[in-house]
Each structure stands twice: as C-alpha cells, then as structure tokens.
C-alpha cells in the first residue's frame, strides 16, 4: 500500500517536472519571434501616418499572443509535437504579416484576422485529430470530396490572375485547391500504405517489366488525370505541378521504384509539352520566362518588375519601407518574396529560404521517427507538398523557372492558404506527437 502510494506520487512528480520543462525550446524561440515581430511592427508604426501604424502594432501583438496561447495550451496538455515547427511557422507568418501591412494595411488587417482563424484551426487539429490514425480509413471519401472541391470552381469559379480556382462567397473567397492538397496527401498515404507491396513487386509481367494489376494502378493514373484537369480547366499550372510532384514523391517513397517517378515525370512532360502547343496561356508563360524583355508592356511586365525589385535589393536591402515593391502588380500574394528581397536584401531572402529548409528538415525528421508506414508516408507527403509549393513560387518570382501562380506558404496574403497550411502543420505535429519526438 505504502509502496504503491510512493510510486504514484513519484510518477506524479516526474510528470509535473516534465510538464514544467515541457516545450521549453518552443517557448524560448517564440519569445525571440515575438521580439522580432514587434520590432518589425514598431518600424511600421513609426513610419506610417495616422492610425494604421497603431493597428499594425496591435495586429503584431495579437499575432504574438495567439502563438503563445497555442504554445501554452500544448504545454499544459502535455503535447509532445516537434518544438521547432511552430516557431518556424511563426517567423514566416510574422514576416509575411509585417510585409503585408507595409505593402497595403488593408490586406494586413484581413490577414491578421485570418491568422487568428488559422491558429484556432491549428489548435482544433491538434486536439480533435490528435489520434490521427483513424484518418487512414476514409481514403475514398477524401478522393471524392477532393475531386468535387476541385471541380466546383470550373463551373462556379471566379477567374483571378489567369487561374480559375476560386469560389466566391461574397464576404470572402475560398480556394479549394489549398485544402485539397491535404486530402491528396492523406489519400495517397492511405492508398499507398495498403497497396505498396503490390505496386512495388508487380503482379503480372509484360515482357521484362513487372506491372501491378489494374486495381492497384488505376487510382494512381486517376491522380495524374486530376493534375491535368487542374492544368487544363483551371489553368492552375502551379497547383498541378505541386500535386503531381508530391504524388510522384510519395509513390517513390512507398514503392522504392524509381521507375514510377521517371515514368510519371515522362507523363507529365508529355502532358506539359502537349499543353504548350495546345493552350495559349501555357505557351505565353514559357515564352515570358525565356525572354520577358520584348513583352515588358504585356505579359512580361510582372516578372520583370519582380526581378527589378530583387535586383534593387542588393545584399542588405533598402530597409523595411524604403523600397518600392508596390511597383510589382499583385505583390501581396505571389510576389511577396520579391518585396522581401528588395527591402531585406539577399540576407533576408536567403533567410526565408533557410527557414523553409529547416521546416523541410524537421518535417522529414518527423517522417523518419514514426513507427508505421501510414504515418511516415503522410508526414513525408505533407512536408514534400509544402516544400515543393515554396520552391515552385520562389523559383517563379526569381525567374529561375516559369512563373506559376501559387501562394508562398505562411507568407502570401490569402485566408485559404494560411488556414490550410496551419492545418497541415497541425497534422505534422500530431504525427510527431505520436512518435514522441520533442527536441
């Protein structure tokens, strides 16, 4: 009796001790992030006339408080998710928010409201979907819901920036493809977990090649079809590329067969070159990428303004509020990185890329630490889709690759993108919670 009581109190004590030290790294990093955010907002407050500066400062405080509240909630519920991911996201989001206020305070205000929504979404994800394993059971529902969500904008959608991927709800617009990307990863993780042996080995042979039976590969080809659907009907090149890239990555991870990746890339290149000849908007994009200068008054204007901004930044940048990034059309969505490169210079630009690299590193680490294949595939897929999206838009605005309009995760203006990526973060953290990784 006595010994049992002693044991229990010892256990209690150790639990208490671990809670008080729980998520120490996260707290310290969030504190630094908070200082960083408030300095940024303070500069805006000093430079901006009237009440907008004050609103920026308040929005900064609200954002910092929001991140801390999430942290405190996790702290007291004993959440064991990765301790670097939230501070990383916080730096990226805060930088985005500061720049949105600097570029256009109206967008900044809307975005800070979206950020609070996104933080609630994150909290709910880590609470309701904490035992994410049940998600494994609904793969065909994801496929169906995702497909419907993607098809809707084709009929009811609103065209914006050349891509028809928006649903208009009056008060706000909704971009289904941002949320569907999570469903895509979950569907693939679940499907590949179930069929990976068959896909890897192949059940029938055609000549020297072992191929799996139709049940196994048809859904995958359907995935390829969905990507092309996006490409053709929504004119959303970037999202198509991200979905398909993630798809190939996950198939490769599950089956270890590089053949699928090569074959898939071949399929995509075939589709892409066909669409180059079939569709004007694809051709225009490629031509604008190869040489935008003769098109400076039309389709090349935006990308040239973007590289002007990047080039004018130099190594240290002009300083926050000292450049002229508003010369770039749509700078607050796809081109926010160009604004950062102008005002924060190469130093700022490289820092942002490094933050995404650390995010990818931590995400992959979560994937490596899991105990089973579904979780592993899901974590790898979520990380890959985020990394790819960041890479594609960053490469686009710097003119390294043809420009395809997607948002820069956590930084671009846009509620759908922000909320979806915070849910993605939540799922990644749940997986890492289960694996018991802290720091």
């Amino acid at each position: 009796m006595n010994s049992v009581g002693h044991k229990r109190s010892g256990q209690l004590f150790s639990t208490f001790a671990s809670i008080s030290r729980n998520r120490m790294v996260e707290r310290k990093l969030l504190f630094l992030t908070g200082v960083y955010t408030l300095i940024g907002m303070l500069v805006l407050f000093l430079a901006m006339p009237g009440s907008t500066g004050l609103i920026a400062l308040e929005a900064g405080l609200a954002a910092v408080a929001g991140f801390f509240l999430v942290h405190i909630y996790w702290h007291f519920t004993g959440f064991r998710g990765d301790c670097l991911l939230l501070p990383l996201t916080a730096v990226l989001t805060a930088t985005g928010l500061v720049f949105l206020f600097r570029l256009n305070p109206a967008y900044g205000m809307r975005q800070s409201i979206w950020l609070l929504v996104a933080l609630v979404a994150l909290l709910l994800t880590t609470r309701l979907l904490k035992d994410f394993r049940f998600l494994d059971d609904y793969k065909y529902i994801y496929a169906l819901v995702g497909l419907i969500a993607l098809v809707l904008p084709i009929f009811f959608g609103k065209e914006e920036g050349g891509a028809k991927s928006w649903l208009d709800f009056g008060l706000f617009q909704f971009q289904p493809s941002e949320f569907v990307k999570i469903l895509v990863v979950l569907f693939l993780a679940s499907f590949l977990d179930e069929n990976k042996e068959a896909l890897a080995a192949g059940t029938r042979s055609v000549g020297w090649l072992n191929i799996p039976s139709p049940q196994e590969w048809v859904p995958l080809v359907a995935m390829w079809g969905v990507s092309l659907l996006l490409l053709v009907f929504q004119r959303d090149l970037g999202t198509a590329l991200i979905y398909f890239g993630t798809f190939l990555a996950m198939v490769y991870v599950a089956t270890s067969r590089i053949f699928y990746a090569v074959f898939g890339m071949g399929l995509f290149l075939t589709g892409a070159s066909a669409s180059y000849f079939l569709f004007d908007h694809v051709r225009t994009r490629v031509e604008t990428w190869i040489n935008p200068w003769p098109l400076i008054d039309t389709t090349g204007y935006q990308i040239i303004q973007s590289i002007f901004a990047i080039g004018s930044g130099g190594v240290t940048g002009t300083g926050l509020g000292q450049g002229f990034p508003t010369l770039i059309p749509a700078v607050h969505t796809d081109f926010i990185f160009a604004a950062i490169c102008e005002e924060m210079g190469l130093a700022g630009g490289v820092s942002i890329i490094l933050l995404f690299m650390i995010f990818v590193y931590r995400g992959m680490k979560v994937a490596l630490k899991t105990k089973d294949d579904f979780a592993s595939l899901a974590a790898a897929g979520l990380t890959a889709i985020l990394g790819l999206q960041a890479f594609i838009i960053l490469a686009g605005v710097t003119k390294m690759l043809p420009l395809t309009g997607v948002t820069l995760p956590y930084m671009s203006y846009g509620g759908s993108s922000l909320v979806a990526n915070f849910i993605l973060l939540g799922l990644l953290l749940n997986i890492s919670h289960e694996a018991g990784s802290r720091l």
Partner: protein
Amino acid sequence: MKQNILKLGYLLLGLLSVLVIYLSYMQMFRGPALADNPYNHRFQEYEAQVRRGTIYDTKGVALARSDYSQNKSKRVYPAGQNTAQVVGYINELYGRSGLESAYDRNLLGMEGADRFRNLINKLLGREQLGGDVTLTLDSALQRLAMDMLGGRRGAVVLLDPRTGAVRVMASSPSYDPNRLEDIWPQLLQDTQKPLINRATQGAYPPGSTFKIVTAAAALATDPSLAQKNFECPGYLVVDGYKLNDTAVHGEVDLTRAMAVSCNTTFAQLGVTAGADGFQRTVKAFGLLQEPPVGIPARAGTMAAAGSLIPTELASSAIGQGKILVSPLQMALSAAAIANKGIIMQPYLVDTVKDSLGTTVESQVARTWLTATTPEIALKIKEGMVSAVKNGTAQAAAVSGMQVAGKTGSAQNPQGQSHAWFIGFAPSDQPRLAVAVILENAGSGGTVAAPVAGSLLAAAVAAGY
C-alpha cells in the same frame, strides 16, 4: 522506406539550395544592372523623396542642380548645351544619361552612411539629402571650346597628361538639357546626332595624327630609324599599288617627316614595323579598348590581324584604312608622348561627397597604360615640336610657350576631310594635352590647329 524518405528530403533541400545560389547570383551579380535598367522606375520614385545633390565643375561652378518651388523639384543645367553630353540629364520621360546617371546613387544619398542617415530622416519626417559631385572639368574653358566649335560638327578634349584629369570635353552640335520636353522628338531625328558624345563615342579615321603611333611602332622595331634619312619622291609603291603623297618632300629625317607630315615615309615605317609590331603598339596606346573615363566610351577599331596586308598596313600607318578612333583616345595618345610614354587613367570626377560634405570618393592619379619608352616618346616629341615651329601645325603656336603638335586631314566617305589636331604644351614640361576634330571641315593645319592653339593659350592663362 525510411531510406527513400531521406532521399526525398535531400532532393527538396537540394532544390532549395540551388535557389539560394541562384538568388545570390541574381542579387549580387545581376542586381546592379537590374537596378539601373531604364525600365526600372525606382530611381524616379526615390527621387521624388530626396533633395538630389549638385554637380560642380573644378572651380565650384554648378553644372547640374535641383531648384525647388512649391515642393516640386526641377533639375537645372546652368551650363546648358556646353556640358550636355558629359553631365547628361535625368528626365522622367526620357531616362538618364552621362554623369547624372553614372553617379545617381551618390547624388540621391543611396550610398554608404547617407543611406542610413536618410532612413532616419525618413522616419523622422525630415528631408532626405543627396551628396555632391565635383568634376575635373573647367566650365569656362569648356564654354570657350564650344564657342570655337561654333555649332559645327566636332569635338574637343583637353586633359592633364600628368594626372589624367579631363579639363574640357566638348561635343558639337549640342542641345539644351533644360528643354528636353520641347526638343526631344527633333533630337531623335536630327541627322547630326547631338545626343552622341562625339568626344568619347565618335569613330573617326585619325588621319596623319596617327603618325605618332606609327613612329612609335617603327622605333620599337628598329631604334636606328631615329638617325636614318628617308627619300620621298612624292609616291610609294606597295605590292604594286602606287600611293600618292601630297608633295615631293625629298630627303627627310624622322623629325622633318613628322613636321611636314610625309605620307611616303610613314607608310614605309608602317610596313617596316610589320603587322604584329604595328598592332602591338596600337594596342599599347590603348586604342583598341574603351578608355575607363566613367561614361560610355567607344573602343577603337582597326583591320583584323589577319587582314593587315601590306597595302592595308601602309594606309593604316597614315591613319586611313580601317582605323577608327575617338577624340579622347587621340588626346590620350598625345598625352602618352607628353608624359614620357605613360598614359594616366583619364577621369572626369574629382571628388564625391556625401550629404554632410564628407569626401567619400577622391580620384588619385593612376597609371593606365605604358604606351612606349621615354626615348621613343622624346624622339616623337621632337617631330611634334618641329611641326609647330616650321611644319604643318604652325597655326597652333602660342606666344611665350612652345607647343608640340600633329595635324591630320583625314579622308572619309562623307565629303571633305576631317580636320584634326593633337598636341601638348608646354613641350618641355607638358601640363596640357589636347585633341581637336572638326568633321568635314578641311585641312587640320588651317582649321583645327588654331582652335587648339587658342584653347591652350586660354588654359595656360587660367593657371593650368
């Protein structure tokens, strides 16, 4: 599977690393060109916030300044057309040119400590200030040169052979940079091309002024030529082609041949130097590269090494053939002879100051090229002194000072010959080197030499 995840992670990190390298390339190496691109409106935007600095001549006379009235700035060029091509202009509609463009960042306070100061100024709502630029040009001499050109097509360059400081860089016909809005369409259509800075961007056959280079080439090949005599029957036969001279000069030595500008002798000297030797010397005088003077300048051109056959060599030796150079380049060649074979790097900007008046950039005299040896330079100088004393360049003489010079009357497809004069003074301690060209104006000795003489006299009187 974990192995595959690791590979996928490396792939993503690799892609992002490539992006880091590419971004560094874009911002560090492509950046300056992108920032200065005329389609990039950042300078115009920035200008609206900043009190742009002033450009002064060497005596402190403003050549470009900003006048403010009712919070609106207007860029004023007090020297007007006299300095139009060198100082350049900034204009919202027509872009920017000349030194105004080259020193934009300093004039707008975007460099060094000014950048930080202006950030503070902006935050505190104070006026942002730019720095000032002081040139080596003397606006009084510049005006005299422009007056003597008198609207005719031509150019004048006057510089200090000891330092490379440019005192006069005149190009005519010119235009009034204060009235760009009214005259722009005519300027673009004008067949006389007033926007071109003829002094640095003109491409002219140098005619007989080139003989100083030919002499340097020949003497480098065979120093004994300095003591030799040449026979001029009034023509020369090269490879079966007969080249006629302007006169029968009889028996002449090198000095006399230079003084009377004997084509027969110099064509022969060119052939003696040989294609390689000739081209080596042309290169040594910096005639095949852009003079690094800080504003756009043209590199000289000549027949390719392979096609320098004896007939082309003979005509190149007297500054005809395929040789094309700018007045600045010929002034620098004269400066080489004046400065014992050394060409100093030419420069237009003496000092650059930041908005507080602290000097942030100051030009020091530095050697650009070693064109020839002191002995050869001395020998050629004898010929140039003789040309002014009792040869073709007598009209360049200045009382009380010995001038050395060489005339040229360059044949060209456009009509009458181009009148050339290059030279320096005083011949024993040269402080001034000059090049004058007047397009299609006739003989160098009668048209260009007097312009150079008057300018040298005025420069000496002004204390240079």
